[in-house]
């Protein structure tokens, strides 16, 4: 029979050899945790780390965020020299911090500095969730408070990008007090008429959401970001009921009055520019002659 000439080839599952595995260097491809699509990391980065197929906003590192938001060459970093101590002698704390320092090339979980957004001068603080889950210890609190003081001296707006699991457990109550310190700095700044813009990114929880993240004159968030005070599991176990699916997402918070707007990453620079522009304008002469 003619059919026999084209015998069906049996299908086998192929297990890549060790050699083949090494052909694809780590990190060249990224899998979207939401739609499970696998794409080139390069393409994803070019798209501001927004999934090309489903729009999921992947976390961004602080240096990446600064590079894509600020005008080229305008960023000047503050306080790179501040380093964490181990005030409670918490076992292995310093080792872990050092590990993250090595991994991220940052001194702590927040990068602060000054720069320009489309020509508008600002002081900015950007948290980085790769560093101890963006948790806030003494150094994070101090860096943010100092950045706010610089914004006050310079009379320029203060913008903060939050990404944090909350207070840093290893520094105990000292971490808790950073909430008060940063909030007090914002109060002084606000009393002087300073403009505060908070952009909450995934995740913004615990002590960070309960302090500076929520204190903006404008509170924005990225789509899908997890934002809340207590963790979902803690709440479910306390109230013993199942929570809605969108519980503690940016969209949930918008509906519940906590946010001014949810802004996709691609539109963020334009929105910030517009807000900065409106706040800097005084109107033409026609308004001020009488």
């Amino acid at each position: 029979m003619l059919k026999d000439l084209f015998s069906k080839k049996k299908k086998y599952a192929t297990i890549p050899s060790e050699q083949a595995k090494q052909d694809v260097p780590e990190g060249i491809m990224t899998k979207c945790p939401k739609c499970k699509k696998i794409m080139y990391t390069k393409e994803l980065v070019k798209n501001l780390r927004v999934c090309i197929s489903c729009g999921y906003h992947h976390p961004m590192s602080a240096p990446e965020r600064i590079a894509c938001l600020l005008d080229e060459g305008t960023f000047q970093e503050y306080d790179r020299h501040l380093l964490s101590k181990n005030p409670l002698d918490f076992p292995q704390y310093i080792e872990k911090v050092e590990e993250d320092r090595e991994k991220t090339k940052l001194n702590e979980a927040v990068v602060t500095g000054e720069g320009m957004i489309n020509g508008f001068p600002i002081v900015i603080a950007v948290m980085d969730s790769r560093f101890r889950m963006g948790s806030m210890g003494s150094v994070v609190g101090e860096k943010i408070a100092r950045a706010i003081e610089r914004a006050m001296e310079k009379s320029v707006p203060f913008i903060i990008f939050t990404a944090s699991g909350g207070a840093r457990m290893q520094e105990g109550v000292l971490s808790l007090m950073q909430m008060a310190k940063t909030s007090a700095a914002l109060k002084l700044f606000s009393e002087q008429g300073g403009l505060i813009i908070s952009v909450m990114t995934h995740p913004t929880t615990g002590g960070v959401s309960a302090s500076f993240a929520s204190l903006g004159d404008y509170n924005f968030a990225e789509p899908g970001a997890l934002i809340g005070f207590a963790g979902r599991r803690v709440i479910e176990q306390t109230v013993r009921e199942e929570l809605p699916e969108d519980f503690q997402t940016a969209e949930f918070l918008l509906k519940h009055g906590q946010l001014d707007a949810v802004i996709p990453r691609h539109e963020l620079k334009d929105v910030l520019t517009n807000v900065l522009d409106i706040h800097q304008s005084r109107g033409g002469d026609e308004w001020h002659t009488n």
Partner: protein, 325 residues
């Protein structure tokens, strides 16, 4: 026009006749142009007669016209760079009130207003422009923000009233309205309020304590809807027309009572007939109001606002034997 009001019926009939005649001449070899011209002249006269003699009830109908321009229609035409801000930072985001920051001829301003829907779906989302407490609290939050940054505030008023519902009561509808009246009285920046549609009671006033309050010619402003008044006074909501006539709710009436500052003229037949043109009429008055208020200091603004409301009220002072108004 898809939606004609009752008092416009004679106009509709006449227009229909004219178009029929026109159609007829097109297809037949008869010349009716004389008749058409005559009818058109009659239509013009009739339009003038009808629109120049609108009664209060007719104006209520215009103010409630489904196509009447809303806050967002005017924001789009009067301002640039508008950015909407959501939420009261406490409970929710009430879409029956919209607010945000914008520029008005380059001047940074805060704009707030009641927002009705354009269709059923939007009306459900916006609760037919009837706010809950969180709507008023959002408005107040934005006013306080405007105060912090020294921006004038412009409020557009267009609501049947604050929403009468269980949830609204639970969250303190009265407190929310009261708080706004209290705080608006002390705002250190200029506040200009414009009634663009229905000004329904406390729900309207909660955005309405301003240095200047203006009304569009066919808008209304009253303590209760004509239907509500009829139901309370005469136990019959169908007497709404009579209530509208008795209660002094038109712009002209309120001007006479010394409650509003200016009546902003409307496009003939109502604002919905030409929104762009209507926005220009508002623009003229708004620009003039802001020019007058901007040079005033915080204390002057607060004092002017207090004087304005202190003067309102009519009574006999029996010790002085004179009537004060």
């Amino acid at each position: 026009m898809a939606y004609e009001l009752e008092f416009e019926k004679p106009l509709v009939e006449l227009r229909k006749k004219i178009s029929e005649l026109k159609e007829f001449t097109k297809h037949r070899d008869v010349d009716f142009s004389d008749e058409i011209n005559k009818l058109e002249a009659r239509l013009e006269k009739l339009e003038n007669d009808i629109y120049a003699n609108l009664g209060p009830w007719d104006r209520v109908q215009i103010a409630r016209h489904p196509n009447r321009p809303t806050t967002l229609d005017y924001i789009e035409r009067l301002f640039t760079n508008f950015f909407e801000c959501h939420g009261d930072r406490c409970f929710g985001d009430d879409e029956a009130i919209v607010g945000g920051i914008a520029k008005y001829y380059g001047l940074p301003v805060t704009v707030i207003g009641h927002q009705r829907g354009k269709d059923t779906k939007e009306n459900i989302r916006r609760n037919f422009g009837m706010p809950h407490p969180e709507g008023y609290r959002k408005a107040l939050r934005l006013m306080k923000q405007a105060e912090k940054f020294g921006r004038p505030i412009i409020c557009f008023i267009d609501t049947k009233g604050a929403y009468p519902g269980k949830a609204a009561e639970e969250r303190g509808q009265s407190e929310a309205i009261a708080r706004n009246l209290f705080e608006m009285a002390g705002l250190t920046v200029p506040v200009v309020c414009i009634v663009i549609g229905e000004g329904g009671s406390g729900g309207a006033l909660a955005l309405g304590v301003g240095n200047y309050v203006h009304m569009l010619e066919n808008s209304t402003y009253s303590v209760i809807s004509p239907e509500g008044a009829a139901a309370i006074l005469w136990k019959d909501a169908s007497l709404a027309k009579k209530a509208a006539e008795t209660m002094k709710i038109t712009a002209k009436d309120l001007k006479q009572l010394g409650i509003i500052d200016e009546v902003i003229p409307e496009v003939r037949g109502g604002a919905h007939r030409n929104v762009d043109e209507q926005a220009k009429y508002i623009d003229d008055v708004l620009k003039r109001s802001l020019r007058e208020l901007l040079p005033l200091h915080a204390e002057q603004l607060i004092a002017q606002r207090y004087e304005k409301y202190k003067k309102i009220g009519d009574f006999i002072d029996s010790e002085q034997h004179v009537s004060v108004m």
